[in-house]
Symmetry: D2
Subunit: 431 residues, 4 copies
């Protein structure tokens, strides 16, 4: 195993290709195809795509069919393999790869693969723009999932070709993390139920290249929802009294959503993230909607926020004579990394090339649906940890100038591969 | 002149064709083509299209170029004449037709031609659906402008072929009334400055078929605006304090917009009609916008509302750490029909076939940018009136089930043609 | 009958004494005593005080007992007669005086007598301050009811001593007009049910001295209400989540109250006039309340506003986990002056000394619970009118610098006395 | 030293007398008198009252003079000593007692003495009501400051009479803690600048009788403010457009105050605690005000909240055409208990009768202006700690049914006296 912090040209090339073709949640057609292509080249023991391991009915945050079709077409134009597009034709994306290497424990690794629905910086200061791999779609890899997918492929390659690994490795290339819509679906697939240990990973998070966090905690439990208000349309000049203004209902809901009291038990969050509604300035809008989220330091705090948010939204609608439907569009619990894994990752990281600083634990302060998978494995008696791989990132996560230092891809592959190898040994020893 | 209330098959067919191809403001490409086609067949003395009489820089409420291009293409597919599409290629629509018939006064007639950006009812109870002329675009003639354009063509045909008219008739087929963006542009073209009299007309307005209003007043002065808020984006979970939420600013603006006090001097109106903004539930939205309108029974009351609305919007932005741009997207003054014309129209209507009730005056309670034209003619020493032609309409104006009783097209042609003829005589007599 | 526009020193002195002792609704103890005193001196045929003609249970807007007691005591200290204080000891104020003068119709005159709960200007530019009759209580005659009461006494004196009046005159000195709480109670007393005609009157209303309005219309129907919210108290620092903040509920209610749409059928009004609640900055407030009003150009429009306001208030409470009680604290319908009386008043005013301008009709644009009495008389087949007596008033009604030109008291006495005399004759003639 | 957990009858009697006469901030006239009386009986070396040690100009949250006078009078009626009332006649309350006992370090003890402006439960389940010492004023000791003052007196008595104490003891009976208005004033008096150690104490805080917290941390920094809005008064019916509604401005401010984003660095709080304004339902309110608070886990977070709150309030005023004044009415920083003292208190508590559980540290989650004193002593090189004395309290702090278990008074006296004695020894040893 080469403890180098420079990823191979092959991984850099893969990462840049994924970066050039970012695809949002449940539309990762090109990405799935590209991953399958690499894994078939490497050779794995089992390779499941989309609905071959995910029940379509368990997905959350699924877009309209027309939107799915549009991205399918875009992937085709970009050169996605027709045989893989056939396997994702029902709109379920993602890959599960299994490597079986003798009689050892089952170790899971979860990486996420989706991009964000935002445009990428066109500035020449932005490396992907300067070096020609800026997004060609109207989405952007603004959170490093291009690096995550690449790390996943790299780990498999290392385990298959280089590492003295004994056991079973299951790597999930999970779709739809950004809408916290894929974690629950993968958890419910049961594919990870036999995992003795699960690793999940993320680059950056304000940690610079050369820093590794052995166990990230402080996941905020989160709930995303969409509230759709239906009122009554009328001409705003001649019949103002005949309308029930759905935009007013949204405004009242948004204003009062922020009035949910802070909680003595810990941190909470609330955001009104998207609004849309109405048709013209002179028409009292019949429909309007907003998407928002609430979070809590614990799952209980998230539920506290969710209940209050529901109360606010319903009464805002009634106040303005509107009906409202509230739909969950994403949800994730809180979670905590287990010491048993954190110990090993910490040791491995300290010995890895390119790693200068190792933090045993740190808080995320954000949300992640890897928590569904961690919780699932922990509920089944296994252990789980979420490993942070520092990367210099010029812009913040989710902004137009986010980028990763590609050195971190090499570090990630090395730290995770070696951790997986030792976990297999450790678990064997324990048995 | 045939005082029949049944429009010719030709006019019905024209109206239904226009109904099937509704086009929103400044995108009336098919409509313009169709009108030109009819008028060339009839034969008029002068025929100006789009920027041949409208200065492009005077338009308000002009859509994005991509949107204009899309509708141009749609019109082409629907069969619009290439030579007319060439004349509207700069994105200016509408027609000015002039009929010169001897030595008499100049009479103006203004009809509007645009549709609304809304979908049409698919119910079988809806006549256009049942009889196969439902909208083929994603707009709808939900305010009867298809009938208006048809009446304009019908009046020209009558004047040219049947009526003993002496004078000059100028008929403006005005674009972009629904966004109150065309009236000002046509007024500033100066084409109506030599009009001794101006008639404008509208069908329906809750008056049934057989009812005519000789002079409509009570136009609410109106101002449409778009407020675009720019805040600061941030991850709602991990960096809530780093954002400046543009959606919150919109909510505060909308809520407080309604708090502008009623005015002792007369009726006012306010509406928040359209909202949009943000990208995802977990991102603090950097941009959001809304479109709204204010109205007043007088131009002064409209200005009172506009000033207060501006104050609310600016402080809502500042309150949430956002910047805001406020753009006017439409504006129209108030106006009043002159007795001199109302007298004649009242007499004509009482004698017309199919007319059962004649109201001398009634209040609109809405807005119209014909007021720009009326005011222009009145300022130049002429007289103006706005004539209501009743029509049974199953759904209200601007709703999905709006439709006109085609009998009203015939009534409109008759009443307006004869009124124009008598105005010419009357004016001649006065001279 | 002396048609002079200068009131006698006696009336000026009475008006100033009343001005010095303003008393708010249902606390007019000194005022009642003073009126009784004058009327006993003049000599009338019947003199009823407080609950001798008003059923206590029909009052609305009655203050707390402690507040009533405080004003009773204040009146005593100011020199109110003990025997009259005994007659108002149950907290019902006001006077009904009857003059019987032969066999003629019954004419009613209604004047109101209460002050406003606000302080009076201490500026030397303010005549009552400069001339030493500024308010000695913490209320103020800021709407001219001191002049009204004086006019009522003056009319009785004229009818008794000077006028050739044949019939029955009933003058109601009505309490609690400012809270629109006395009109309904007097109407329900039935004392005016036998009136053939009813006059009510008001000074000022932006009409200068020398101007008379024969028939005021345009009374806005009005509804006053108090909304009391009950939430849950908690320490704002240590247990923020345990509270239900009643002040937030009030804020949401007030904001959204203004969002009730304007109505196409005519003018509406809304106001949040009084707020109070909470105990300390660090306590989540358990209770809070506000008082507001809605108005409409018609009784129907007032009801439209009232229903919407109720909906807003209830949902604002529920939104914040609070309970709410909504109590009516005042109500008055709309009304219209009858031509039969307007004709006579117009004629009388044109002939009166000191009157320079007579308007036949004008709109109030405000509310008045005299409408209850007018409606009652009209429902019983009589006629009613509301007469405006212009007066120069430096400050607006209800402001700290409001004052009346005492010349208007003389004009009011003359115009009303002569109108009453002629109404008696006219009615006699009609019989 | 008697390590009994039962306070003497004398202390119970004192506590109940104080409970019966609760006085809010800067109005503790009876309380000051009562404390002086006890301390004179015990005999101390120095006894300063009110402005003898507090500069009147440094007070914050001082009430109106009329309010001060009213409580001075109430205290007089309740039996406060005239000579002490003379010493607090300038409206400065509180006591500083000094005991000098040989050549040792200076130890400070701070107890607070004010009540809350709220009424006390009248239920028979409420011990003070059942046993006849319910509040006789319209305030209430709903936070245990009656117990604190009693503990302060008890400690002095123990030190003077029983304890082998060598050093100087300074006990501050601080006024105005509830409005966080006294701590800054006492700190700036400089009287504690020579303290080597400072103890402050609080009963309850959800810790039961028998539990002691050696060092409380987690004080939320806090800022209390009052925002007074001035608009324009007008009649809501006749001149709605002439007003600028200060109540609307308050509503907009309150609604948007809660929209200040949560902060990633730690807990924040916000509350709108008190509102008042307006005069009548039909008058557009010219003035309205609210009192609120913001808090932060650190002083920086408090400042973050304060700055945003200021921005919201100013723009809410401007939005409705109002002026606004924002006044600080209370402020306190965050603070942390020093290990040096916590060690000693922890040891003492473990050995004390009646103490069953000792927590080394716990978080308050609320605010306290003892932090000003702690910070002052720490800035001068001394150490400070805040000691929690558990007490069973049926109702929560600041609620109508709050009460203390009097056993905790005995525990408090014992733990603090012995801690002070050992601190003197320890400090001596260190020197």
């Amino acid at each position: 195993m080469s403890h180098s912090d420079t990823p191979s040209d092959w991984l850099v090339s893969l990462r840049r290709d994924l970066h050039r073709h970012p695809e949002p949640a449940w539309r990762e057609f090109y990405t799935t195809s590209r991953i399958v292509d690499e894994l078939e080249t490497i050779g794995v023991d089992e390779l499941l795509v989309g609905s071959e391991f995910i029940d379509p009915g368990t997905r959350i945050g699924v877009p309209e069919q027309a939107e799915i079709d549009r991205w399918d077409e875009t992937a085709r134009h970009a050169g996605a393999r027709e045989d893989v597009l056939d396997r994702t034709a029902d709109g379920v994306t993602g890959v599960l790869a299994v490597v079986r290497a003798g009689d050892g424990p089952t170790i899971g690794l979860r990486v996420d693969i989706d991009g964000l629905p935002r445009s990428e910086s066109e500035s020449d200061d932005h490396v992907p723009t300067a070096e020609g791999f800026r997004s060609e779609t109207d989405a952007m890899h603004a959170c490093g999932h291009d690096a995550h997918a690449t790390v996943g492929v790299g780990v498999i390659e290392s385990i298959v070709n280089e590492s003295a690994f004994e056991g079973t490795l299951k790597v999930v290339f999970q779709p739809a993390e950004e809408v916290i819509g894929g974690g629950k679906a993968v958890a419910e697939s049961g594919q990870l139920d036999d995992c003795d240990h699960l690793l999940a990973t993320h680059v950056g998070l304000d940690h610079p290249t050369g820093e590794v966090v052995a166990g990230i905690d402080g996941f905020l439990a989160v709930h995303h929802f969409a509230a759709t208000f239906t009122g009554e349309s009328a001409h705003a000049g001649s019949h103002p009294n005949e309308g029930a203004n759905a935009v007013q209902a949204v405004a009242a809901a948004v204003e009062n959503l922020y009035a949910i009291p802070r909680h003595e038990d810990g941190a909470t969050r609330v955001n009104a993230g998207v609004i849309e509604g109405g048709s013209a300035p002179n028409i009292i809008p019949e429909t309007a909607r907003f998407e928002g989220e609430v979070r809590g330091e614990t799952t209980e705090l998230k539920e506290y926020m969710r209940e209050h948010a529901t109360r606010v939204v319903k009464n805002a609608a009634a106040m303005h004579g509107c009906e409202v439907d509230i739909d969950a569009v994403g949800d994730a619990p809180s979670a905590r990394s287990d010491d048993a894994i954190v110990d090993i990752v910490e040791d491995v990281a300290r010995e890895s090339d390119g790693v200068e600083t190792v933090l045993r634990r740190d808080d995320l302060g954000g949300s992640e649906d890897a928590t569904y998978l961690m919780q699932r494995v922990q509920d089944n008696g296994g252990t789980a940890a979420y490993v942070g791989i520092g990367t210099d990132h010029p812009g913040g996560h989710h902004t137009a100038t986010f980028d990763v230092d590609e050195a971190s891809v090499g570090i990630g592959v090395d730290v995770l591969t070696e951790s997986i190898r030792r976990l297999a040994v450790g678990s064997n020893a324990e048995r």
